[in-house]
């Protein structure tokens, strides 16, 4: 029974990673850049929910909506101010270092406003959860909500990408920006839309992450952000179902190794997986092989 509980916890954590990884993988697929600040968008989302809920005496629904809107704006603004000028720069390092700068900037703004002390975040899910087998197997409400939300997001995103014009434009832009421009697609606007979607998902992920692990600090988003990138690479970067699979695998591995091996080595094991994947199959589980042309 306890194994089952850990497995479900792993699924829940994995679902959160999957939602974050979706943001990474979409942005990487289209803009070909690693948005290092994505993890910090999560933290920003959490602080917004925290502040709004405190101001409205515990009404977290409004908080989530405000957080999604503001995070979307933040993502689009960051893309416009910091990343767009560097598109087509001579070195790919330029945009990566800028993204690191944005990540640092967000962390330090949060540090100035809220201080370094850890805030306790009250769960946005008030439901107690389910209990099976005479209370031997308890599943918390937030766990169920997390898994359901991530599945819904996955399905909606898949439909959006494959069935709408904007989604098709994204696919085209990720295949070949030049050809997409010739077909009349506004590539800049498509990339901005991708950032908007990714950042709004970060806000959702933030709400779920802080509900499951209720401690909020300026560095809350950094580690989950990096692990979600590992998940995106594991599943095959650019692939939406891949991000989901990668996230779930990573979450389960992390929880199980924390329980059965060592809590200190869990992170090392997670990163070890990244190294092994990149050595054995650098394109990830569902990734496509891209030939390099001279």
């Amino acid at each position: 029974m306890s194994f089952l509980t850990y497995l479900i916890n792993g699924l829940s954590l994995g679902s959160i990673y999957a939602i974050i990884a979706l943001g990474y993988t979409m942005v990487y697929g289209i803009a070909k850049m690693l948005n290092f600040a994505h993890g910090d968008f999560i933290m920003v989302g959490c602080y917004i929910i925290f502040s709004v809920s405190a101001a409205l005496s515990g009404n977290s629904v409004v908080g989530i909506i405000v957080a999604i809107i503001l995070c979307t704006l933040l993502g689009v603004t960051t893309e416009f101010v910091a990343y767009r000028p560097l598109r087509g720069a001579a070195s790919p390092l330029a945009v990566l270092i800028t993204a690191i700068g944005v990540s640092y900037l967000l962390e330090n703004i949060a540090l100035l406003i809220y201080g370094a002390d850890i805030k306790s975040f009250s769960s946005v899910v008030k439901w107690e959860g389910l209990s099976f087998a005479d209370g031997q197997l308890k599943i918390q409400g937030v766990t169920i909500v997390t898994i359901v939300v991530s599945v819904v997001i996955l399905v909606v995103l898949q439909l959006f990408i494959n069935k709408t014009r904007q989604g098709q434009a994204m696919l085209a832009a990720s295949e070949d920006k030049g050809a997409a421009t010739l077909m009349g697609i506004n590539v800049n606007r498509t990339i901005a839309l991708t950032f908007a979607i990714g950042s709004s998902l970060a806000a959702v992920a933030g709400a779920l992450l802080c509900s499951a692990y209720p401690s909020l600090s300026p560095y809350t988003g950094a580690m989950p952000g990096i692990k979600a990138f590992v998940a995106a690479v594991l599943g095959g970067i650019g692939s939406i179902p891949g991000a989901m699979i990668g996230g779930l695998v990573l979450g389960i591995v992390e929880i199980l190794s924390k329980t059965y091996i060592s809590s200190q080595l869990a992170d090392a094991i997670v990163f070890g997986i990244l190294v092994v994947v990149l050595l054995v199959k650098p394109t990830g589980i569902l990734g496509k092989q891209i030939q390099e042309k001279v």
């Binding site: 910091a82 390092l93 270092i97 700068g101 330090n108 590992v230 190294v275």
Partner: protein, 347 residues
């Protein structure tokens, strides 16, 4: 004298001049004890900035796990010094510890380089970050003790070492306590000069030109017969070894060495990246100056330290956009004419 030789000599002269000025200030009693405590950290940050610039500026691969190599150098050398603190006199002990620290950091650089250097760009950056975190986490769960029967290892707890009496040297997350204070400012400056000598001579050698050719266009470099993998490995290993030397200074300057995120996490690595970027990517002298100024400034201006990281991050973003954005470069060329176009392109 060749222009490059002159350029190198200027760098050494700056370091030596700074050393002499600070030593005079120290001898005449013009330096507060707080300031004195900052001198050794200043040298090891300058050394690791040089190491990272070799990797980012000369090799052209972004590493955000360089503090991991520093961590390896720090722990292996501290382990040796701590284990032999009673049986060896200070001078040979520190020299051997230094060599051990450098050698083990180089070994790890080599081993990690084999998988990492097969990757490029973002993937490489994230894998170096992963390795940095792995090193930190593993050391935090590592226990080593010494007793009459020899060495004991454990990954669980100090109790698992099964020692009779003896001495627990590496105590998991509590790290190594009681490393002798063998490092001082003079040693730091000497090590900085040696690292500068190694890196600057490498850059101006045939090997260095091959490494920079790989950075600028690796397909073209490969086509001209440069062995891309071995040159990349060479630069990466040397960079790791120098970072290890910085780690040796680090561990021999503090009493309790722990693999904490503050010193060895990826945030610390990014801090060093800030030094490198602000000093000029590919500009070795710039890294040294930037590391020293950026390290000392916030420590000296106490009120400034709250806003330090905020300002650094904004400067980092602005610097990258001003130096790299195609549109800004074009605008600069148009506005400033030959001045903008004639500027030496940094990396």
């Amino acid at each position: 004298m060749k222009k490059q030789t002159k350029n190198n000599l200027i760098t050494y002269a700056i370091v030596i001049a700074a050393y002499i000025i600070l030593e005079i200030l120290m001898l005449t009693g013009n330096l507060s004890s707080h300031m004195k405590g900052l001198l050794v950290p200043m040298t090891y940050y300058a050394i690791i900035a040089v190491a990272l610039n070799l990797c980012v500026g000369i090799l052209g691969e972004l590493s955000i796990g360089h503090c991991g190599f520093m961590c390896i150098g720090a722990f292996t050398s501290a382990f040796f010094s701590r284990a032999t603190s009673e049986s060896l006199p200070a001078a040979p002990r520190f020299i051997i510890a230094l060599l051990i620290g450098i050698a083990s950091a180089a070994l790890f650089g080599f081993l990690i380089g084999i998988p990492v250097l097969r990757l490029k760009g973002d993937y490489l950056a994230i894998v170096t970050l992963a390795f940095g975190e792995i090193i930190k986490n593993v050391i935090n769960a590592f226990y080593v003790g010494i007793d009459a029967k020899g060495l004991h290892f454990s990954m669980k707890s100090a109790m698992e070492l099964n020692m009779d009496g003896g001495d627990t040297i590496v105590n998991g997350a509590m790290g190594i306590t009681g490393t002798p204070h063998d490092a001082n400012f003079t040693i730091g400056i000497v090590l900085l000069l040696i690292s500068l000598f190694v890196v600057q001579n490498l850059v101006n050698s045939r090997d260095g030109r091959a490494i920079m050719a790989i950075r600028d266009n690796y397909i073209a470099a490969e086509a001209t017969g440069i062995n891309v993998t071995s040159y990349k490995m060479m630069a990466f290993t040397i960079s790791a070894a120098i970072a290890g030397a910085a780690g040796v200074l680090f561990s021999h300057n503090i009493t309790t060495l722990t693999a904490s995120s503050q010193y060895f996490g990826y945030n610390a690595s990014i801090m060093i990246l800030v030094y490198v970027v602000l000093g000029g990517i590919g500009n070795i002298r710039g890294s040294v100056i930037a590391a020293c100024i950026l390290y000392l400034l916030p420590e000296l201006l106490r009120g400034f330290s709250t806003y330090r990281m905020l300002i650094y991050s904004i400067v980092l973003i602005v610097m990258m956009i001003v130096n790299w954005s195609p549109k800004v470069i074009e605008w600069r060329k148009r506005t400033f004419g030959r001045i903008g176009a004639g500027r030496r392109k940094a990396a």
